[in-house]
């Protein structure tokens, strides 16, 4: 598709009307204490919870098994379900559909630049993105504190800080919260904030669905926290039945919480997927979209196709607890294998939901700090789609020793090892891009490079795990645990922080402190490796996962891991200090394009207006024409001057970067 640089008249929308999210007309929503915001959401949640819990007690408190066990799963389920509904109603998520149902026209949304918009249900993808930033960081740090508790317990092989039940609850809570957080850690904040800007769109396809995804995500966070007062749950994040069916009230928080998160994942994936496919600006062909968009698109495919299995499995589990069905209880006609199959059929695509966005960020950062085009762009895009497709065919490698389909093990060994081919493309892309580059070691670049180091170890150990004979020793041990922390934390979380350091100047207009960023990086990188590398050895030497007792001879390795984990945890305090200080307390304005990126998202006005682009841009090129002296502009923004590779960076850049930001012109 060729697009003329000459601007067509109709691509500039005149005077757009924003989609509405307020009350229906006649009751116009106004910013103010009386309208809907986080406070009303909390009130709604509390009222809904109390009502649901009361109803559950009215219905079921006389049931024999409820009276005997002292656990009323029906009350728990009712409380969480109506609590979540109250939360959504309180924030205003159901105003629009309700108004439509009763035949009214919803009121148009007020446009406000007040800080209070961050506490409201909003159709602005940039506000939702910032809400997600705070949301996933809160999620991450809560679960991180639980990790500190785990490592405290494992300081000693036999004497205990926590009771064994408390310890398993902490492990389960940590794993579940981290997995829930990681599903949205990039798609939520960076995906929602950046995708419309990257593809030249004025909004996402379904702004209300997008806002819904955040508010149900936060409801999921609150729900999984309720497991603690209910006594925790003993199953780990994998929730294996029938242990799940045996567990007490906290299990409902896990099942319902995961189901809520799942609804949010489907909503987020659906919205962004449709946006990418349909809302690209003229000229934004598939070969010109930034690689991050490919990563998010393939992630969206997984989010929408894999997650329904999780939600269904969660509902089966809730039915086993409330209506005493027996989906997962063999003696009554179910199967203990059913949950494992359903869970991992979701769970393995989930692993790539947590890997692909990280690849996207890294591949987006590398060209900027190497001043080179992305190497093998098409291979990278194809690899991401290949990973997404193959990820549906590997789930039984989690069940090699379970006795399910033993004759299928060679097949799942093959598919698992095959998936390392498209996954390995990220190394081809990265190494090719580094070749004869001009590398600037800015903070985002450090994180991107760390991803290559960490993910290589995570990936290679994944091949060990996929080999069935080796799997006999390492399955279910600390080796596995270390492997997936290397891929998810070493890959995704490092990439996420790289992405934050990279894009926060655009998102907030403020500059993060570079020194603090470097301190954060080095402490995080070094002590991440000191925390998790010993776990490979711990696992090989025979320590199973999720135990509160271990062999005496493993204490040294466990202590190295624990002490490093505490320093790793402390490194995030540096980030929090930097984030809060540089952005909220003593903000330093950022240059418009501090890294001299060619990405379309950097060419918008600062701060980005409500509708992103005054005129829809006409895209002329992919954003990777670095080091080309006569490259054409990336896009026609509708301004008199085309913006492109050789555009002067007069309003910015030079003073925040160590190197000459402008490509040499001779």
């Amino acid at each position: 598709m060729t697009i003329s640089a000459e601007r067509e008249r109709e691509v500039a929308y005149p005077d757009p009307t924003p989609p509405s999210v307020g009350w229906f007309q006649g009751l116009p929503a106004r910013p103010g204490w009386l309208s809907q915001h986080l406070g009303t959401a909390i009130i709604g949640a509390v009222l809904g919870y109390l009502l649901g819990h009361w109803l559950g007690n009215v219905v079921a408190s006389g049931y024999t098994n409820v009276a005997n066990s002292g656990v009323n799963a029906i009350a728990n389920t009712g409380g969480i379900a109506l609590g979540a509904l109250g939360w959504l109603a309180g924030i205003g998520a159901i105003n629009y559909p309700l108004a439509k149902i009763i035949g009214k026209e919803p009121a148009p949304e007020f446009e406000t630049t007040s800080w209070s918009r961050y506490f409201r249900y909003t159709a602005d993808h940039k506000v939702v993105g910032m809400q997600y930033v705070i949301g996933v960081l809160t999620f991450l740090f809560t679960a991180g504190l639980l990790a500190m508790a785990i490592r405290t317990e494992l300081l000693s092989p036999s004497s205990h800080v926590f009771g064994p039940g408390t310890y398993i609850s902490i492990v389960s809570e940590h794993g579940t919260m981290m997995m829930m957080m990681a599903t949205s850690v990039v798609v939520g904040p960076l995906g929602n904030w950046l995708i419309p800007l990257m593809i030249g769109a004025r909004r996402t396809a379904f702004p209300r669905v997008e806002a819904f995804s955040f508010w149900i995500f936060s409801a999921g966070y609150l729900t999984i926290l309720t497991a603690l007062p209910y006594g925790g749950f003993p199953t780990g994040w994998t929730g294996y039945a029938p242990l799940q069916t045996q567990a007490g009230g906290g299990m409902i928080s896990y099942l319902a919480g995961f189901a809520l998160i799942g609804l949010g994942m489907m909503a987020a994936g659906f919205n962004l997927g449709v946006t990418i496919i349909n809302y690209r600006a003229p000229g934004m062909t598939w070969s010109r979209v930034p690689i991050f968009v490919w990563a998010i698109l393939s992630t969206c495919a997984l989010l929408t196709l894999a997650t329904p299995t999780l939600v269904a499995a969660g509902l089966f589990g809730i039915l086993d607890h409330t209506a005493q069905t027996a989906f997962f209880v063999t003696e009554h006609g179910g199967s203990s294998y059913l949950w494992q199959n359903l869970f991992w059929f979701f769970g393995h695509p989930e692993v790539y939901i947590m890997a692909l966005p990280g690849f996207g960020i890294v591949a987006e950062i590398l060209p900027v700090f190497t001043r080179k085009p992305l190497f093998a762009y098409k291979v990278a895009a194809a690899g991401m789609l290949g990973v997404a497709l193959l990820s549906f065919f590997v789930w039984q490698h989690h069940l090699f020793q379970s006795g399910i389909n033993p004759d299928m093990r060679p097949l799942f060994m093959l598919t698992t090892e095959l998936i390392s081919i498209p996954t390995g493309f990220i190394f081809l892309v990265g190494m090719g891009t580094l070749y004869k580059a001009k590398i600037r070691f800015e903070v985002p670049m450090l994180f991107a490079l760390a991803v290559f180091f960490n993910f290589l170890i995570g990936g290679v150990t994944g091949v060990f795990l996929s080999d069935v004979p080796v799997n006999v020793t390492v399955h279910g041990s600390f080796f596995v645990l270390s492997h997936f922390h290397y891929t998810i934390m070493g890959g995704l979380i490092f990439a996420f922080f790289g992405g934050l350091y990279f894009w926060l100047p655009k998102m907030t207009g403020k500059t993060m402190n570079k020194k603090l960023g470097q301190i954060h990086f080095w402490f995080m990188f070094i002590f991440f490796n000191f925390t998790f590398f010993p776990m490979f050895l711990i696992g090989l030497l025979g320590q199973p996962r999720r135990v509160f007792e271990y062999a005496q001879n493993l204490q040294t390795l466990n202590d190295i891991s624990s002490i490093s984990a505490f320093i790793l945890g402390a490194s995030f305090l540096v980030f929090i200090a930097n984030f809060v200080w540089s952005i909220f307390i003593k903000p330093t304005p950022s240059p418009a394009n501090p890294w001299d990126s060619l990405g379309l998202e950097w060419q918008t006005a600062n701060p980005v207006p409500y509708y992103n682009f005054e005129r829809i841009p006409v895209v002329l090129n992919d954003p990777y024409h670095y080091s080309e002296h006569d490259a054409a502009a990336v896009a026609d923004m509708g301004d008199p001057v085309l913006v492109g590779a050789v555009a002067p960076t007069g309003d910015g850049g030079g003073d925040t970067t160590g190197d000459d930001p402008v490509t040499p012109a001779e």
Binding site: S69, G70, L145, A149, H160, G165, Q246
Partner: protein, 225 residues
Amino acid sequence: MSFGARLTTFLVMLAAAVALVVYVVITYLTPQSGVVDFTSAQPAGAPVNLSVQTVGSIGFGPHPTWVTYMVQNPGGQWLHDTTWEVPAHTRINLTIHQFDSGSPLRNQNWGRVQGVAGNVEILNGKPISFYDSNSGNGVGHTFAVPALGINVPLVGVNSNASNICSQAPCGSDSVSNTIKVSFVTPGPGEYSWQCFVPCGLGYLYGNGGPMSNSNYMGGFLDVVA
């Protein structure tokens, strides 16, 4: 907002977050079971007399319907604590007052007395090494320390008796069986003990609730030097 206001706001939020974390740790994450000390009540090396009882329903606390163990501290009080600190390499004379009724065992392997002196228990004054749980009143619970190989079946009381105890701690006015065993503690360490009868009423396989909570049908022998 001014710089000072922003800083103050942040510090207030930080303090609130720290307070919340401390609250959660204290409320939900600290051990629910206290430690009962049996190391100093007698001279070093002398045998320790340890008396415990099993009760069909504890009758108080957050889970009044749950079955539980109680322990008598050296001062003679009955406590709801399942971590017992005992000296290493010392003979423990364990007396268990069983106030609960019994049933057939799920796994008859746990009808054998294992890991204690002579592999026998003294049941109401008579030594036995094995109990057929399909006969008589069945087995109500077992006292087992898997790491030490200890398993002591606790024969149930007649479930039709009129004076079955339903409120802990139980006294001599309730029907009970008395089981005595003796064993020597190993070196220091925390050894978990549990019950092998699926006695968690209303839970799948009978192993939830009190069976899955270390302060009811399980705990630690905290052996110290």
